[in-house]
Symmetry: C2
Subunit: 103 residues, 2 copies
């Protein structure tokens, strides 16, 4: 089955639940702000916390959720964890969201 064929068939019920789980991750302003910050450059936890003016703990909790959704990845550098966006779907999804809003 080609990608296009797969795209056009019915979506199984179970996949709809997974989709909702994925979009739930985008549905929080802290996480969106984290994603957008990582749009611009890789950042470690403390830098993210400073940039978003939030506690290290709050950021760390949200990064865990973003990691579980495979939206961000991390690289250890000494004591630091450097986070980065993991794929381009993030950008496309956010761009489409923006286009909807701007209509």
């Amino acid at each position: 089955m080609t990608k296009k064929e797969q795209k056009n068939r019915l979506i199984p019920e179970e996949e709809l639940y997974d989709l909702a789980e994925l979009f739930k991750v985008f549905g929080d302003s802290t996480r969106i702000r984290i994603l957008f910050a990582l749009f611009l450059k890789e950042l470690c936890v403390n830098d993210l916390a400073a940039e978003l003016n939030m506690t290290q703990s709050a950021i760390s909790h949200q990064l865990k959720i973003l990691r579980n959704a495979r939206l961000v990845g991390l690289r250890r550098e000494g004591k630091q964890s450097v986070y980065f966006l993991k794929d381009d779907h993030v950008r496309t999804i956010i761009d489409q969201g923006r286009e909807h809003i701007e209509e």
Copy 2:
């Protein structure tokens, strides 16, 4: 400012909150299932409730949220309210979500 230029500039903080609000709407399995049902054809409230095996009230509440987000529209037909998808960003956003999941 062209669309492309607009896309590439920094996203203002306020728009990030609006984005989170939009994705929050996608982040519920009932609403995703409603959207997908409307993918296939227009439906009135009772038909949606039957198809998703949920109460009329629950569906109606969720439809209100989808309406507020301008993701669905409705047309009155006698006693019925016939709902439909309002724009193609819905399809693109969901498709991108699916591609992310299927990786």
